[in-house]
Structure formats: structure tokens, C-alpha cells
């Protein structure tokens, strides 16, 4: 796990600075969630939970979110992904896409519930239309690209 800290730093820089020009309708992919998924696929559930907590805490510090919001969802996501990764055939692109879409939407849903609990109910329809759905689609697309890189590289090698 020597690449965890450099990966986290890269996420921080990309999410705060580099992804600005790539945002669609003010929405950027959730790279921190993708990092949680990447880390959790190769870790034990305990380690994935702790790493998810640290990643989420870092994301909270870099945003206007209450400290603990993303730590909560990311530690939960880390645990679930680490538990499920052995039972899911996530090397198939279509299954991977659904897995990422579902994961991102579920994480957003939990965040919405927590925000409702702590800050009062935000309008549900704008939250769905302007944050949850576009973020899930964008995150899933970018995640699919990142997670498929080994297969793409292998296919290219075979072609060459």
C-alpha cells in the first residue's frame, strides 16, 4: 500500500485544481470515492474501513462539508467494497459500470440522509438532478476508464 499517500495527494490536487476545466454542469467526478474503491478491492475489510475513513476525512477538510460526512460514507463504502470484491465479477465492463454507478449513488444517498439529519432537508429533486445522478454518471465513467486500464493495456500489448 505504498502508493496510498501519493494517490491521496494526487486525488487532492486533481479534485481541487485539475478537474475544474473538466467539470460538466459544475459537476466533477468523485475521485476520492474511486480511490476508496481501488484501495478496498485489495484490502481486508478492516483496513479498507480505516483507509476509507482517512480518505473521507481529507475530502471533508477540503470542502465546505461538515467534518465526518465523507468519512462516514467512505469508511462504509470501503468496508462494503472489500467484502463484496471477492464475490463480484468486476472485470466485466458492464458489471463494473453498474457497480460504480450503484456505489456512487448509494454513497450520495447516505450523504443526503446525513445532511438532512444534521442541516435540515435539502430539496430532493435538485439534489437528485444536479448532484446525485450527474455525479454518479461522471464518477462511473471515469472509474470504468481507470479500472479498465490494465485490460486496455493488455489488449494493446496483444495487438502490438
Amino acid at each position: 500500500m505504498s502508493w496510498f499517500l501519493p494517490g491521496l495527494l494526487l486525488c487532492v490536487i486533481a479534485q481541487a485544481v485539475l478537474l475544474g476545466p473538466l467539470s460538466l454542469m459544475e459537476i466533477r467526478p468523485d475521485l476520492f470515492l474511486l480511490l476508496v474503491i481501488l484501495v478496498s478491492r485489495r484490502s481486508s475489510p478492516e483496513a479498507a474501513t480505516i483507509l476509507g475513513f482517512l480518505i473521507g476525512l481529507c475530502q471533508d477538510a477540503l470542502s465546505g462539508a461538515p467534518l465526518g460526512l465523507h468519512a462516514f460514507t467512505d469508511s462504509l463504502m470501503g468496508f462494503v467494497v472489500a467484502r463484496l470484491s471477492r464475490h463480484l465479477y468486476t472485470d466485466k465492463p458492464f458489471a463494473l459500470l453498474w457497480f460504480l454507478l450503484g456505489g456512487s449513488a448509494a454513497a450520495s444517498g447516505i450523504r443526503l440522509a446525513l445532511l438532512t439529519f444534521f442541516l435540515g432537508p435539502p430539496p430532493l429533486l435538485p439534489a437528485l438532478l444536479w448532484v446525485i445522478i450527474p455525479e454518479a454518471l461522471y464518477t462511473a465513467a471515469v472509474g470504468l476508464l481507470i479500472l479498465s486500464l490494465p485490460q486496455i493495456r493488455a489488449a494493446l500489448t496483444r495487438t502490438v
Binding site: 495527494l9 487532492v12 490536487i13 479534485q15 481541487a16 485544481v17 485539475l18 475544474g20 467539470s23 454542469m25 459544475e26 459537476i27 466533477r28 468523485d30 476520492f32 475489510p45 478492516e46 474501513t49 480505516i50 476509507g52 475513513f53 473521507g56 476525512l57 481529507c58 475530502q59 471533508d60 477538510a61 477540503l62 470542502s63 465546505g64 462539508a65 461538515p66 467534518l67 465526518g68 460526512l69 465523507h70 468519512a71 462516514f72 469508511s75 462504509l76 468496508f79 450523504r111 446525513l114 445532511l115 444534521f118 442541516l119 435540515g120 435539502p122 430539496p123 435538485p126 439534489a127 438532478l129 444536479w130 448532484v131 450527474p134 455525479e135
Partner: protein, 289 residues
């Protein structure tokens, strides 16, 4: 004792997960309800660690991009017109630089004009980062408490209000934009002097809430800060009314507002210093207070 250790070992996954979730929940509760020193310290420490990397990245991106572009351009040049192409490239780069400088000068002149027209003290700051989530709308500035930035100071742009400072470290500050879902600013319809509260929206733009039901509010009306609440001085332009909604049975009418400032393309802002600010309804939900 052995039995306890065996049980801990057996349920370690559930214990780790429950501890992480409980700790997260506790942190959120502490911040939202009380905002303790532990939470403030944790936020500022994490921000302090990562903000130099963000600042350096933001400062070098422009240089790296132009250098990479130059490299790609040079690679595609034909040998026979290499010298000419290089000259054109140099001239283009110079022109780009001059155009960029002209645009920057224009922006800074507008900021300067705004500063000169006011008695208050201003500090110019560059935007070096955006919010790391899609749920909140905040920006990171390259100035901090060492330059005199304090929490709750208003941030402005030539076309109007940007937001307020919510978090300060020695070398950086975070500004909550007026479109942040938990932001609240006292607004005044300039034409009819009707007051309301401008708050953020999860979509684009902002909303003006708590407008009296019979008040005269029309599309295109200019909205400025009301000065009530004590955070923002009166009369700073906020934006224009885009749509007006009067729901049957509602106690108030609402309106959507298009901010005067394009908050997605901010490069520099002015921090309004030297104002005695106090907490009020404009401070939003109370978190980070």
C-alpha cells in the same frame, strides 16, 4: 480476559466499522452542534498540510500547459520552415501573454476602481482551488491570516458579492460562495426596497426566500445586500431576479436569482477588511462558526 480478546478478534470487522462510523457521526455532531476546538483544529491542520501542494499546482499548471503545448507544436514542425514557425510560435506566445496580461490588467483595474470608490480596506486574493465535493460551493484563496484575512470577512468581485470567509489558515482561506446550499445573505430588491434572504441552491444560481407575498418583485430586478445581519455592508450587488414563484397557500413568495458574478470562473477576489463583523442570520446554519 481471554474470552474477551477472543470475542474482540472474532468481531473485529464489525468493531472497526462501528468505530469508524461512530467517530464520523461524533465529528459531525460536534461541528454542527458545538463546533469544538478539536474539529476546528483537525480541519485547519489537514488544510494546512495540503494547501501548499494545491497552491504550487495551481501556480505551475499554466507554465506546464504552455510548455507542453510548445513542445507538441515544435515536434510537428517541418524542417524547412522550422525557423519561421518558431518565430510565429514565439510571436503567438508573446501575443497570448500580452492578451492575458491585458485581460488581467482589465480585471485588476476594475478591482482597483472598486477599491478606490470605497472607504473600506481591501485585500486582493487569487483563487487556487475549488470545493472537493459537488454538494458544497466553496473556493480556496492564496491569502490567509498572515495577510490579515479573518473569518466572516466578505469576498467581492467587480460585479458584486462572491461570499464570505469561513475558514482561515496562516497562508490560505476558504470562502463560502453565495450559491452554497447553507449560505444565507440578507438581500434587498433595489427597485421596491423589499427584503428577503438570498440562499444557495443545489442547482445553478441562488434563491431569494421569505419575500412578502404581496411584495412587488419582477424578473430582472437588481438585488443588493440589505446590510441586515451585520456581515455584509449594505448595497453590494448580488444579482438579478430570474424567475418569481408564488405558490398558492404559501406564506411567502420565492424567486430564483442569477448571481452578478460568474462564480464558476473566478480568478481573483477582493477580501473586504476592516469591518467590524458579528454573527447574524447571514452566517448560514451555524456550522464552522
Amino acid at each position: 480476559m481471554t474470552a474477551l480478546l477472543r470475542m474482540l478478534g472474532r468481531y473485529r470487522r464489525a468493531i472497526v466499522l462501528a468505530s469508524a462510523l461512530l467517530l464520523s457521526f461524533l465529528l459531525m455532531t460536534l461541528q454542527v452542534r458545538h463546533d469544538t476546538a478539536v474539529v476546528t483544529f483537525t480541519r485547519q491542520a489537514l488544510l494546512l498540510v495540503v494547501s501548499p501542494f494545491i497552491k504550487i499546482t495551481a501556480a505551475t499548471i499554466h507554465g506546464v500547459t504552455s510548455t507542453w503545448q510548445d513542445y507538441v507544436d515544435l515536434r510537428t514542425l517541418r524542417e524547412e520552415n522550422k525557423r519561421l514557425q518558431l518565430e510565429v510560435s514565439t510571436l503567438k506566445r508573446r501575443l497570448d501573454q500580452l492578451q492575458e496580461q491585458a485581460l488581467e490588467t482589465q480585471r485588476l483595474q476594475r478591482l482597483l476602481a472598486m477599491r478606490d470608490s470605497s472607504q473600506a480596506e481591501f485585500l486582493t486574493a487569487r483563487v487556487v482551488g475549488k470545493d472537493a465535493t459537488n454538494w458544497f460551493k466553496t473556493i480556496l484563496l492564496d491569502r490567509g491570516s498572515m495577510e490579515g484575512v479573518r473569518r466572516n470577512q466578505p469576498a467581492l468581485a467587480p460585479n458584486g458579492l462572491v461570499g464570505r470567509v469561513v475558514e482561515v489558515t496562516p497562508a490560505s482561506a476558504r470562502v463560502q460562495l453565495l450559491t452554497d446550499p447553507v449560505s444565507a445573505v440578507g438581500g434587498l430588491i433595489q427597485r421596491t426596497r423589499v427584503t428577503g434572504i438570498v440562499s444557495g441552491n443545489l442547482g445553478a444560481g441562488a434563491r431569494v426566500r421569505y419575500l412578502p407575498l404581496m411584495a412587488d418583485v419582477a424578473v430582472g430586478d437588481e438585488v443588493v445586500t440589505s446590510g441586515m445581519g451585520g456581515l455584509f455592508p449594505k448595497g453590494i450587488p448580488i444579482g438579478r431576479i430570474a424567475t418569481v414563484e408564488r405558490k398558492s397557500g404559501a406564506l411567502f413568495q420565492e424567486a430564483t436569482l442569477t448571481p452578478g458574478v460568474d462564480l464558476s470562473r473566478l480568478e481573483e477576489v477582493l477580501i473586504l477588511k476592516g469591518l467590524e463583523v458579528r454573527e447574524g442570520f447571514e452566517s448560514g446554519t451555524g456550522r464552522r462558526q
